[in-house]
């Protein structure tokens, strides 16, 4: 798979965490299997409670990630390591939770809590997928560092340039521009379809579109089509960065509220457990 940004810089499969994850996972499954042969593992049993306590401690560890992001001035390990830990521990947490509950949803509250826990972990995994697909320097374009607002206005400028070129073309070209090219140039909002799209694939897609249109336009308009094609390529590189950034930010609107709610329900769950 061709990528503009080297994968190894942000790969979640490198470093110590995958090994730690595998060791913990194998140990957990072994312990669970051995114990389940001789005793009943239910949420209220010794082992069930132990799994519950471990799970709760791991949730607290997951919360520290947010604190770590704020403490960027202190030497507390790289953010890359923290992110990997956040994702791997989250998945381990989900597995321990299944062991804690004996893979049973229980009653209404427990079921809701379990589903929410599952959604938090799944949204975390989706977030990590978005993250590894976002270009390394979202705001870096060429040698210039650009803010998100700069990127947005840059997109608008490219659109205006393309509109201006299209103004001086034939009616049939204008019509084609309006139907086939302008929609591609005017996309600025988050498009979830971009989640698994690689930048190079997007550019090839646009190039193919221009090639297809080349056969349809008159020879007088080919120069203008190529000019718009160049604008489109430059624009898509910026748009790609912007859309992935937007996706990541919109993802936060799902992951953080779900995590917060899960934390509140965890407190209620612990209180109910000890109360009853």
């Amino acid at each position: 798979m061709k990528r503009d940004i080297p994968l190894e810089d942000k790969s979640l499969l490198r470093g110590k965490w995958p090994v730690v994850f595998s060791v913990i996972l194998i140990s957990l499954f072994s312990l669970y299997y051995i114990q389940s042969q001789t005793t009943i593992v239910s949420p209220g049993s010794f082992l069930g409670m132990l799994y519950g306590i471990i799970s709760m401690l791991l949730v607290l560890f997951l919360l520290i990630y947010r604190v770590r992001k704020k403490l960027f001035r202190y030497k507390l390990g790289t953010m890359q390591n923290w992110l990997q830990g956040h994702i791997y521990i989250g998945v381990i947490c989900l597995i321990i939770n299944l062991m804690h509950s004996g893979a049973s949803f229980g009653g209404h509250f427990s079921a809701f809590f379990s589903v929410l826990f599952f959604l938090v972990i799944v949204s975390g995994i989706v977030g990590s997928l978005i993250y590894v697909n976002v270009p390394l320097s979202i705001t870096k374009y060429g040698k210039n560092v650009m803010t998100l607002d700069d990127l947005t206005s840059e997109l608008q400028q490219h659109l205006k340039k393309a509109d201006k070129i299209a103004e001086h073309t034939s009616e049939s070209f204008k019509d084609m521009y309006k139907k086939s090219l302008r929609p591609c140039l005017s996309k600025t909002s988050t498009n979830w379809g971009y989640l698994f799209l690689i930048e190079s694939e997007l550019l090839i897609k646009r190039q193919n579109l221009i090639e297809d249109l080349r056969a349809k336009v008159s020879s007088e308009d080919i120069y203008d089509l190529d000019a718009i094609g160049e604008i489109m390529e430059t624009r898509e590189k910026i748009a790609y960065r912007l859309m992935k950034t937007n996706l990541l930010q919109k993802w936060l609107l799902i992951h953080i509220p779900l995590s917060f709610l899960m934390l509140v329900l965890l407190i209620i769950h612990i209180t109910i457990t000890f109360y009853y």
Partner: protein
């Protein structure tokens, strides 16, 4: 608006909605939403009366069970290998396992919570000190080896009992021995002590009792096993040189033949009674 701020606002709104919903259900007396699973059919009337069984911050106490289950007695004897705490009903009888769950049934894993053992005691572990002889409480030197009984001939000595639980009478002189060893006036005859010693080993009485490693009361009903021939279970009867060397079958004989197979229950409680 900043995405982080937006995510926190959504978090708080979402949490408030969920908490309001939980409060609504709780205030309407629908406490069952907090249950860890459906109650068994017999307890289903208690669905919104948590306090019937649960004492706040103390969990389920034995007293709560005994309020309704008045006839149920405590553990047979203080279990060996168990800590000092009193056995709790909920150690063996698990609730909130679903409507169809049979709360009376005890999984053998439940027994193992207290009764730590790697394997069931075999034949050699069975003590015979208190097996009362049917002949004046005397121990009889009657060996199966000497008598070489064939399978079909067991009933020659072991007559059927009217007692429902033990479907065989212990062999008595009048019913069994006198068929061959007729001594006029027995058991009052006292002249030939050497002849007496042919059969009478000593003057101590004994009874069948398992070692106190396990539940002490073992029930076995011959009538339930009448499809099997005697020697199918009492395989070692020919090795018995006297009456104290009873050819009790080992648990291996039971499990190999029928129990621990899919169609016959293999719970500890099939043979052992827990309550007094």
């Amino acid at each position: 608006m900043d995405k982080y701020k937006a995510s926190w606002i959504i978090s708080i709104i979402g949490t408030v909605i969920v908490l309001a919903a939980l409060y609504y259900y709780d205030s309407k007396g629908k406490h069952h939403i907090f249950m860890n699973g459906e109650l068994s059919l017999k307890h289903s009337k208690l669905v919104n009366s948590c306090e019937s069984c649960h004492v706040p911050w103390k969990g389920v106490q034995n007293e709560a069970c005994l309020k309704c289950h008045k006839k149920v007695q405590k553990h047979q004897e203080k279990p060996v290998n168990q800590d000092e705490r009193e056995s709790a009903c909920i150690d063996c009888h698990f609730e909130h396992q679903g409507r169809s769950h049979n709360i009376k049934a005890v999984d053998k894993k439940g027994c193992k919570v207290c009764h730590k053992w790697d394997s069931h005691p075999e034949k050699g572990k069975i003590r015979e000190q208190e097996l009362k002889s049917s002949i004046n409480g005397n121990t009889i030197k009657l060996g199966h080896k000497l008598h070489s009984l064939k399978a079909d001939d067991c009933e020659w000595c072991h007559l059927e009992s009217t007692d429902e639980k033990a479907s065989f009478k212990l062999a008595s002189y009048d019913d069994a021995c006198s068929n061959c060893h007729y001594i006029a006036g027995h058991p009052d005859i006292t002249e030939d002590t050497e002849s007496c010693k042919m059969c009478h080993l000593n003057q101590t009485s004994f009874s069948l009792k398992t070692e106190k490693l396990f539940l002490t009361t073992t029930k076995f009903d011959h009538k339930r096993h009448n499809k099997a021939k005697c020697v199918e279970c009492h395989t070692d009867y020919l090795d018995a040189s006297n009456s104290t060397d009873n050819p009790y079958p080992s648990i291996g004989t039971c499990t190999e033949k029928c129990h621990e197979m899919n169609y016959i229950a293999d719970n500890c409680t099939v043979c052992h009674t827990y309550h007094k």
